[in-house]
Symmetry: C3
Subunit: 153 residues, 3 copies
């Protein structure tokens, strides 16, 4: 396996900055929040460290995925629909046919992730965007806790 | 997209507290560990920061999901069974028909996550509980490493 | 639920060490990077804390899974192929039949994870290895950002 390393850089962790973002999702959608995350990193005075994201729900999740062709998000949503179809024989159906599939999709895609911050910028790849995935059919208000741990500018 | 932000709060990271929890799982089950995690956060003297959880296994995973109707956990387990059925033609079957499905379920749901800690409390949503998901058919002893990084009370 | 706790150990977070590993993947494969991660932890002078891994791509992911029988990785790959088959009717197909399945597999397995570091060693379980999963059919150069937060030796 051919490989190469960058040099190791070091800094002293000086701050943990925390804020909560509340957004109104559209039903069954991937909403990009990269600009909001960048704004938080900037306003935190972040230099080097990591940015942590956590969504406080059981039917919406956090996904890092392609930010170019919107067809990718449609296909991702369709793939999740095939894995957890609304018409499967769910026992828990008191909250509507979209509720239990939304829990399954959230379990599979996750509510917690981090992105490195290097020199004040998110170290996302060229094609990576950060999305909140709403898995319920109707819009919901969703809360995301953002935290930066690291050094400051 | 309508959105609102809380103010950014800041603290200095003062401690990393680490402990390992060993629990005996039931076979094929979601066992809630939120009270144990709360206890660790309290005993660590945690104020603001993040709590990290890591399970040291390849056939059990960590899931944050609904803590109200137990039917939700049954449906989640059934959904995982449909994705990775015991009777699929697995090449790796020397450890029993439930072993390879357990690896697939662990890969899809994950062994690593974090939860923000704000003012000494886990910032879980109203309906979120933390579960260890046992994917093997029989009970196992499972180890979870808990770590708090942040400020102290 | 029978359970037992280790004592809580505490340290002061002194450093965040960051480096980027670029590796040439084989097509559709799980490549173990545990030795590389261990090397980074050692060269960082890490003592107690956590190691964070992030892959900067949307068609490759990070997976912690069994490091013994290689059949396990074949079965994991086959399970992902069944979830996201190349011959499904993907809308986004301009980058080849393996591209959209690779995005789905990446979404389900994730690009971000952490492993605790205790006494200078990764607190992996006996059977856990860290893998970069290449989901495209052909080899690609992939970048992984490694970060250690914690105390130093």
């Amino acid at each position: 396996m051919r490989q190469s390393w960058s040099p190791i850089t070091r800094c002293v962790p000086k701050v943990i900055a925390t804020a909560t973002l509340a957004i109104d999702s559209s039903g069954s959608s991937f909403t990009e929040i990269t600009p909001e995350v960048v704004r938080f990193v900037t306003e935190s005075g972040a230099k080097d460290g990591a940015l942590f994201l956590f969504v406080r729900h059981t039917s919406a999740s956090l996904v890092i995925q392609e930010n170019a062709d919107p067809d990718v998000r449609s296909d991702l949503a369709n793939a999740l629909d095939r894995i957890a179809p609304a018409n499967a024989a769910w026992v828990h159906d008191s909250e509507g046919p979209d509720d239990m599939p939304a829990h399954v999709k959230t379990m599979l895609t996750g509510v917690s992730l981090h992105v490195p911050v290097i020199g004040g910028a998110l170290a996302l790849g060229t094609w990576q965007g950060i999305y909140i995935a709403e898995h319920r059919a109707r819009p919901h208000r969703r809360e995301i806790v953002l935290q930066f741990m690291g050094s400051t500018l």
